[in-house]
Assembly symmetry: C2
Homo-oligomer: 214 residues x 2
């Protein structure tokens, strides 16, 4: 089992039995998430911004406009915290105190760096498209030089990271087990609605029609 070495800030102190340090489990959460929340410090104050991302082996990539304040700040090598959270359900306990959520989350600490290499940058753009939906990239035209120039890609190593996972039923106090209140879990998941076509008569590709994720 490939474990990530703990550091003080990736060692979960609250409910440590929910902590997960296996790289495979961390990667699975990252690969399922569509957005991450990027935290950084600006003028000594925290800023948290949602954005899309992709993973390549031991790195997380984020990207955006080369004019983005967030990306320019991060590209300068400041500390960053990237968090990906998947909400899996609401846990209805017999007391307000024991209500909870089922979720899987990953927190990565580190410093990001700008991807300058043209080959790695193009590969990162491919990963973004394939992260959105596998199969997409091969249908799209190649990025234009101006698009590449307008896009900043940052790389964050998945080194100092941990996951936290809660699953299963409510954990109630013994005293509450006979309370006359419904208890259990309402599973939640992202589901897709009817596709809204913008193109004219182009057939919906299999990778969208049969997308097994949603």
């Amino acid at each position: 089992m490939d474990l990530i070495p703990n550091t003080p800030r990736t060692t979960l102190r609250r409910i440590p039995q929910n902590a997960v340090y296996e790289r495979s489990a961390i990667d699975a959460i990252l690969d399922e998430g569509l957005i991450c929340h990027v935290g950084f410090v600006l003028d000594n104050k925290p800023v948290v911004i949602p954005t899309s991302f992709a993973r390549a082996k031991d790195h997380l990539y984020i990207h955006g406009s080369a004019a983005s304040r967030m990306l320019l700040t991060l590209g300068s090598g400041v500390d960053v915290c990237v968090t990906v959270t998947l909400l899996d359900g609401i846990v209805f306990a017999r007391s307000a105190f024991n209500h909870s959520m089922n979720y899987r989350s990953v927190v990565i600490f580190g410093t990001a760096s700008v991807v300058d290499d043209a080959g790695e940058k193009l590969e990162a753009l491919r990963l973004f498209a394939e992260h959105i939906v596998p199969g997409r990239w091969q249908e799209l035209r190649a990025p234009k030089p101006l698009e590449l120039k307008a896009t900043l890609v940052l790389r964050l190593p998945i080194e100092e990271a941990s996951a936290k996972v809660r699953t299963g039923p409510p954990e109630d106090d013994p005293d509450d087990m006979n309370a006359p209140v419904w208890a259990g879990v309402m599973p939640l998941a992202l589901r897709k609605g009817e596709l809204i076509e913008d193109s004219n008569g182009i057939q919906v590709p299999d990778y969208l029609r049969d997308d097994p994720r949603f």
Copy 2:
């Protein structure tokens, strides 16, 4: 229209047409979200943690264990950034460059304070339960003194805040409009699965069976 006064850090510079400063729109996003991402600075480095929350008029409440490192840090009055993001869909454009997400997000900056007043604390706990699902609180027993003691509730004013919203179809370059690739939007939304009962034979309450949100 009740607008929140802009500050430098709530003024969106990237794609400013997606910015929203109406309090009603901000409140609607907050009220629909089930989790927020809380950002703060610890040892000069950013930390971003997901947690549940609730809103009361002009305040956001978060809560958790009185032993939580995050809550103790925040309760000491440090700067905090709370972000709530609702993912509404994937935007498939005709080029990789113009792919996007439809989403609604709120970012709140400020400092949190500990809710010491017993009445306000109890009201906040009611709001947490009612935020999870309206109707829940009245079925639950009152919190016990020990539970109240073990729970830390923090209050963050919704003063320095902004929302960002993207809706609608892809925005493609004119050159790409005849590209032979499907374009459009895949709407995404949190949906509930089959309820998993933990209690014995207690009827599913109407507020769960008919929950219109999922």
